[in-house]
């Protein structure tokens, strides 16, 4: 069965700092990869996704992620964070067209 690891549980950054959140998955076959974000008091919503093609994908609000197949990784990045990026971020792996497994999440706190 697939699994997802997010090693950073809580990250604190100052505004304008660069962000990288790690995500590693374990599954030997084809996967689809997602990052979701949950702002305080809100639903989980899609940030970006990788399906095929260019391994560097861009999402909303200036976020991007790079799929490195050899490392089973899909790290999330943003060059310069804002206070409004304070949220919890979840990496997810979809196997086939059905089963979606999430990581444990990373809480990001951006200090103004």
């Amino acid at each position: 069965a697939q699994s997802v690891s997010q090693h950073n549980h809580h990250v604190i950054l100052s505004e304008a700092a660069s962000l990288e959140l790690g995500c590693n998955y374990s599954y030997g076959g084809t996967v689809n990869l997602f990052w979701y974000v949950q702002y305080p008091g809100q639903h989980l919503q899609l940030l970006l996704k990788y399906f095929s093609g260019d391994p560097l994908v861009k999402g909303i609000k200036g976020f991007e992620a790079e799929f490195i197949k050899s490392k089973f990784s899909f790290n999330l990045r943003k060059p310069s964070v804002q206070w409004s990026d304070t949220a919890e971020y979840f990496c997810a792996v979809k196997v086939g067209y059905q089963k979606v497994t999430f990581g444990t999440g990373t809480k990001l706190q951006v200090i103004p």
Binding site: L44, Y50, F51, K94, Y97, K99, F102, T104
Partner: protein, 114 residues
């Protein structure tokens, strides 16, 4: 547009009582449906998913069950709740046929078992 409804928003139930949480989706046909439990520090734990009426895949053997009596209806149940069933339950749907179809989440149900 598609919408997902999940109710109730909050629920307090005594140990040993039954449970029924309902989720319905509007504006799409034959969605994949999911039940997750979200706990602080543990992320989202996949409980059940369904690819069609009457088709349920269980991910975590526990005190819960799921049913899909209609195409866009997904129900999470328990015959006798345990204290450990307390948590935040999320229903979600995704489109079928494409691997990159994301999940769309409901508002969630906060269940407290006393």
């Amino acid at each position: 547009s598609q919408t997902i409804h999940q109710w109730p928003a909050t629920l307090v139930q005594p140990v040993g009582s039954p449970l029924s949480l309902e989720c319905t989706v509007e504006g799409t046909s034959n969605p994949n449906l999911y039940w997750y439990r979200q706990a602080a520090g543990r992320g989202l734990q996949l409980l059940f998913y369904s690819v069609g009426i009457g088709q349920i895949s269980s991910e975590v053997p526990q005190n819960l069950s799921a049913s899909r009596p209609q195409d866009r209806q997904f129900i999470l149940s328990s015959k006798k709740l345990l204290l450990s069933d307390s948590g935040f339950y999320l229903c979600a749907w995704s489109g079928i046929g494409t691997g990159d179809s994301p999940l769309h989440f409901g508002n969630g149900t906060r269940l407290t078992v006393t």
